[in-house]
């Protein structure tokens, strides 16, 4: 029986080469896209789950609240005392706690010098919480010595080559401080599917020293730069801990001046380790995380593509079924019952699906590399290592074969043999309707994807070209080491001498960074000093900040280097802060009393609002002030015509000022682009997959149209004899498909509108939603479809009518 089915399937395949190719190719492309995306989704969902006790590990984050209870700032980092305090207070719930502090360092061994971004100070409990595999050294003791250093395998190769690194001294430079550390352990490279990775782990002791010892550090609740992880004891639920956290905060943090307990203004949260990668997008993270939304988008697209391919498969099979009605009738006459026939047809479609799978796997191997690069991951489709893949693939194919084969199977097996024998058989209208509905859906999906692509592209273009309120181009950013800041005036004069350098300024943060620092403020409103109950972010700058970045002044004046008081008691706000405080205009704010942190003074100027952060973020209230020791970065505006010369000059000066420290600069424009990287990926994704969707849809349309024209071959001949022109026949054939595409457009409208509005809403600044992209998408689909069908219609319409009305 099966042999017979196989034979018939094979002969049908060969006999109808065009349709078989269309059918199998369409399904193979769909399957390939699905496999790739499922690999991606599987990887995204696997993050941090390799830790033995990942379901007991939590990250502690800290949130600050406004007086009305709304969130003011939520950091993925906390202050240093929390980890030890949690452990000592909740010893019966918490098994271990650990702090990690990420610092940029320069590491040296012999003549090998590299800047290291993935350098972490870590409590020695780190190996009790996480289960990274130690290759050499004892995890219980490696970080106990203040000079203890653990490096990963690949870092060891980088510095030591074939040498044994154990016991070797490395010089670690932080800022201007240099310290000798000893490699006491080697650890396996951190798996890529971790929400953060490190190259070096160092003993926490030097951090303690930096804060002036254990006691002072345990009082420092203000420096929230520490990643804090805890591991709960077995059979403890996280709520047992989180319920007690407000009381814990009140116990250790003082109430504010009005006697309001600390827990109403700052809170700790617990994040399951495995959720961080996909669900946590706080104001600070160790590394930028992914987003569950993107996983959903990917998954939805995979389903869409697979759906389109299945529709094709079904449509073509049912369309072909007309030719096989006779065979079905005969088989019934010869004694086949319905069940046998259904089995035969589903079997045939499964065979086709299997062929498609083989092709799809080939495609997948072909595209694995580019897709890995695109997603920044390393995918492999190794059936030997992962025999379950073969099982999944087979399951997928059986499912697709079953779904796509079932309709033609039931449809075909329902033929009444007597009708077939009489030759009165005609394709039923229900069947035709279903086929139309499927084509409508196919086009709805294709049009939706094109429309999404247009909207994403427009939004990205908007972000790249929008006037940010300052001049973002040609600004070089360098870290600000003490050698530069301590004698800044002198250095300033030296650097500005170069004709390629227009101006430069120091700042605690430069545009394109996040605004994470803030302190309490009071402001004079209607003659009274009122406390500000929302967050005003602060930026510490040098006098030349406004000129360097090209910010516009809305009222008052800029900082003046001639006025000594400006360095002690002058503030400049942005317009947003002025509005939020309640002054009616920028002018009104000038010369008003303003206190910020411990600094008391007046407002001397107001900057026009500009986009300090990326366009994902709204514009927030900001205060600018001159400060001496809070500078992290230096912004240098260079002349575009003398860019290379300026960079060369800066390089020389930098090395003179900071001997031994590599010169590494960044540009504001590049940093902004980097923030839109994930959005750009979405754009490429939509581009690729809408292209695929269109391609598969066109394949299907081609098949369908050729069947329709085949079926209407005689009708076309008769019409021509009656005097119809070629054009009128083409129009006749295209009309019905155009109708389907129009319905597809109508269905896609609400879907795209709703979905893309939600996507645009995550940007604080975005293009308005409009119908135009959808119309463009619709017209695009229409044109492509028309061209496709026209080719076939033309062929049918130009055939000699005598040919077509001749009966066999």
């Amino acid at each position: 029986m099966w042999k017979n089915t196989l034979k018939i399937a094979y002969r049908n395949l060969v006999k109808q080469r065009l349709y078989s190719t269309i059918n199998i190719l369409g399904l193979a492309i769909g399957l390939c896209a699905t496999i790739l995306i499922l690999l991606f989704v599987k990887d995204e969902l696997s993050y941090d789950k390799y830790h033995e006790d990942h379901d007991r590990i939590y990250r502690v984050s800290r949130e600050w609240l406004n007086q009305d209870g709304t969130s003011s700032l939520h950091l993925g980092h906390t202050a240093p005392p929390f980890a030890p305090l949690l452990k000592s207070d909740f010893g019966e719930i918490i098994e271990e706690s650990v702090r990690l502090l990420n610092t940029d360092v320069i590491a040296r061994f012999d003549d090998k010098v590299f800047p290291e971004e993935k350098f972490f100070f870590a409590d020695h409990e780190v190996f009790k919480v996480f289960s990274w595999k130690m290759l050499q050294g004892d995890p219980n003791t490696v970080l106990n010595n203040p000079d203890g250093l653990v490096i990963t395998e690949s870092t060891a190769k980088k510095y030591f080559g074939e040498m044994d690194p154990m016991g070797k001294q490395m010089e670690i430079q932080i800022g201007t401080q240099r310290q000798e550390m000893m490699v006491r352990g080697i650890i396996e490279d951190v798996p890529r599917n971790s929400h953060f990775t490190f190259d070096m782990l160092a003993s926490f002791k030097p951090v303690e020293l930096f804060y002036g010892g254990y006691e002072p550090m345990m009082q420092n609740f203000g420096n929230n730069a520490f990643s804090t992880f805890i591991k709960l004891k077995k059979e403890v639920t996280p709520t047992q801990l989180s319920d007690q956290l407000p009381a814990f905060m009140d116990r250790h943090l003082p109430a504010n001046s009005q006697g309001i307990p600390a827990s109403t203004s700052t809170r700790l949260h617990l994040w399951p380790l495995k959720d961080i990668h996909l669900h946590s997008n706080l104001a600070s993270e160790i590394e930028p995380n992914s987003n569950i939304e993107y996983v959903y988008i990917y998954f939805a697209i995979a389903l869409f593509i697979l759906f389109i391919a299945c529709i094709n498969f079904m449509n073509l099979s049912t369309a072909k079924s007309a030719n096989r009605a006779m065979e079905v009738g005969l088989r019934k006459v010869m004694g086949a019952n319905k069940g046998l026939l259904i089995k035969q047809f589903i079997g045939e479609s499964m065979i086709m699906a299997c062929l498609a799978l083989v092709l799809a796997v080939l495609f997948t191997y072909l595209f694995l590399e580019p897709f890995s690069q695109f997603t920044g991951k390393e995918f492999s489709l190794n059936f030997v290592e992962n025999p379950q893949f073969a099982l999944y693939g087979l399951g997928l194919v059986l499912l697709v074969g079953l779904i796509s084969g079932s309709y033609p199977a039931f449809f075909l097996s329902g033929f009444e043999p007597v009708n077939v024998m009489k030759g009165t058989y005609k394709i039923g209208s229900i069947h035709e309707k279903l086929r139309s509905v499927l084509v409508v859906f196919q086009f709805a999906i294709a049009i939706s994807l094109i429309a999404c692509l247009i909207i994403v592209t427009n939004q990205l273009e908007y972000m790249k070209t929008k006037d940010l309120g300052y001049q973002k181009d040609h600004v070089v950013i360098l870290p600000a080491p003490p050698a530069l800041t301590q004698t800044f005036e002198m250095n300033y004069n030296r650097l500005i001498r170069h004709p390629g350098i227009t101006d430069l300024a120091l700042a605690s943060r430069v545009p394109s960074s996040r605004l994470l620092d803030s302190q309490g403020a009071t402001a004079e409103l209607n003659g009274e000093m009122i406390p500000i109950n929302f967050r005003i972010a602060d930026v510490h700058v040098s006098h030349t900040f406004q000129n360097t970045l090209g910010i516009e002044l809305a009222a008052g004046r800029d900082f003046d280097i001639e006025k000594a008081s400006d360095s002690l008691s002058s503030f400049i706000l942005n317009e947003n802060a002025v509005r939020a405080i309640g002054w009616s205009s920028a002018e009104e704010a000038i010369q008003k009393q303003f206190n910020y942190g411990n600094r008391q003074g007046v407002i001397v100027g107001v900057y026009e609002d500009f986009h300090f952060e990326s366009l994902h973020q709204p514009i927030v209230p900001i205060v600018f002030m001159i400060a001496q020791n809070r500078f992290n970065e230096v912004a240098i505006r260079v002349h575009p015509d003398q860019f290379d010369e300026a960079i060369g000059y800066l390089n020389t000066e930098w090395l003179a000022m900071n001997p031994g420290t590599p010169f590494q600069y960044s540009m504001i424009e590049d940093r902004l682009l980097a923030q839109y990287e994930s959005d750009e990926k979405i754009q490429i994704l939509f581009g690729t997959f809408s292209g695929l969707a269109i391609f598969i849809s066109i394949l299907g349309l081609l098949g369908m149209a050729s069947f329709t024209t085949q079926q209407r071959f005689r009708e076309i001949g008769i019409r021509k004899i009656l005097g119809a022109s070629v054009l009128s026949i083409i129009t006749l054939l295209e009309k019905e498909f155009l109708k389907l595409i129009f319905w597809g457009l109508l269905i896609s409208l609400p879907v795209v509108w709703y979905g893309m509005s939600a996507w645009l809403d995550q940007f604080s600044f975005h293009i308005p939603m409009s119908l135009i992209p959808m119309l463009i998408a619709g017209v695009t689909a229409l044109i492509i479809a028309m061209v496709t069908i026209s080719v076939l219609s033309w062929k049918a319409a130009t055939v000699n009518p005598v040919e077509s009305i001749k009966t066999e």
Partner: protein
Amino acid sequence: MENALIKWIEIDKYVDFKFRRQFILRSINLEINEGEFVTFMGLSGAGKSTILNIMGMLDQASAGTYFVNNVNVTTLNEKNRLKLNKQYFGYIFQAYHLIDELTVYENIETPLLYRNVSSSERKSMVAELLDRFGMVAKKDLFPEQLSGGQQQLVGVARAIITKPQILLADEPTGNLHSKQAKEIMEVFKELNEEGATIIQVTHSEDNARYGNRIIELVDGMIKNDKKTTHYA
């Protein structure tokens, strides 16, 4: 006539239009015994093919009762009807109706597949028929590679491979020229002499003379039912 193989009592077949009922067959009473070679004759639209379709259970009567070997077919459910069908009938068509995708060998084999005959038995049964019809050399050809007469021979072989008691043939030689037609009719005669009951529909007086009973239909009613003697 207690043991008639086929017995029809007051069989009607009609199609209802909006305001009137169009009869295709009207009050047909009929008995056919084992071993008979019956020919239905009549003009186009007289109802010949309909009789054959109802007899072969491809179509159902609108009214009346139909017995096959004393089993009432009209009250059977589909499953049992199919069983009866498999047991008694073989079909031969004017347009041969071979499956284009199967070879001669496979076409003849197909009915056996639906009757769960073992592979070795199938082989010997098909081989025997190929031999009988002199088609051994053509067994791997596809229908389109054969002449009309050869195709119909395959059709006949396919119909008789299950050894049905009743062979239904609807214009079996309608598409063949006279020499081929004669060959096919000779085969029918042989089968009849071996004991098969044959019921055929034809326009051809020549073909009719191979049988031993001619039933003439006019406007869905039996006009004439007469015994004849064999031609040869």
